[in-house]
Amino acid sequence: MKLQIASRLAIFAVLELTEHSERQLTVAEIATRYGVSTHHLAKVMHELGRAGLVRSVRGAGGGYQFCANARRTTLLDIIELFEEFGPQGPDANEPGGGTGEAAALDIVLGEIDEAVRATFGSITIATMRRLIERGRVPPVATGRLGS
């Protein structure tokens, strides 16, 4: 299971903003923390803004702020902004599509998709913060996630 880089960046950015909810964070600050390009992160932040999860504050000391409910915003809410997710259904154009074998494989893949979707859909940003604070997740080593 691997998320697209934009989804990962968006999750990290939201977690970072909720950790420092007392102030705004600039794109450069978040990008430095995770070792990613500001250009890529700026696009991600713009998308989060359009979805109403963050807002930008202009001027000195400005930056981004999380503005949604951390106890109601799930990982799935964020991921779905950047990638298609969940059961795709049978595709007759795929190799072997329309055969009994493909239908059986679709049942298995659907079961996996459903479980993954339920997991992302049941973990909120607040739950993620608690996981981090409990120390169940080791600190992120700074490194490049993508460009």
């Binding site: 106890r71 339920a118 859909g121 909120t124 913060r129």
Partner: protein
């Protein structure tokens, strides 16, 4: 929002002197205070079962009085693993049931070492987000710990978002077992 911050510093884990709810001999209870509500947690009594049935029926749409009574009686049955049935009672609305939790320690089912199972947890809809469910879950976890088990489990349907979010928020993660089923029709 940090949920831990909703607890007051004066929160008590044992009945406060002069608490308005007299407990019965041999009954242990705890008065729990949050910023928004103070309530009493204690073992369920026979005369709580009507309110338990009513709350459950309003939430699930099914009246199951015999089921709740059976679970209540299981707390007392000699020679069986004791069930745990706790209720949260409103301090300000004399004796009103705010929620309940039912669990039991089970051992070696499906090869599993002894663990505490939470079968049911229900909170009055107008009393949610006040810390009632969290207090009930913490309390039953304490009972499980006292009995020497180090793991607590429950089962939730994937699309039942509210309990799913709640249990996840309380730190519960997917366990090593997968539930399998088959239509027998």
């Amino acid at each position: 929002m940090k949920r831990a911050a909703t607890r007051t510093k004066t929160q008590s884990r044992s009945p406060a002197p002069g608490a308005p709810f007299a407990t019965r001999p041999g009954e242990t209870a705890q008065l729990v205070g949050t910023l928004k509500k103070t309530f009493l947690l204690r073992p369920a009594r026979r005369d709580d079962m009507a309110a338990v049935t009513d709350l459950d029926e309003r939430i699930t749409g099914l009246a199951k009085p015999a089921h709740w009574l059976e679970l209540y009686k299981r707390q007392k049955k000699p020679g069986q693993a004791p069930g745990i049935f706790l209720v949260a009672i409103d301090k300000d609305a004399a004796g009103r049931l705010l929620g309940f939790i039912v669990g039991e320690i089970r051992a070696w089912e499906f090869g599993s070492a002894p663990c505490g199972w939470v079968y049911a947890l229900s909170v009055e809809p107008d009393s949610r987000l006040l810390g009632v469910g969290e207090a009930l879950l913490e309390s039953i976890a304490g009972e499980f710990r006292k009995a020497g088990v180090g793991k607590m489990r429950t089962m939730v349907t994937r699309d039942n978002l509210l309990p799913m979010l709640f249990f996840r928020g309380e730190g519960m993660m997917a366990g090593p077992y997968t539930q399998l089923e088959k239509d027998l029709g």
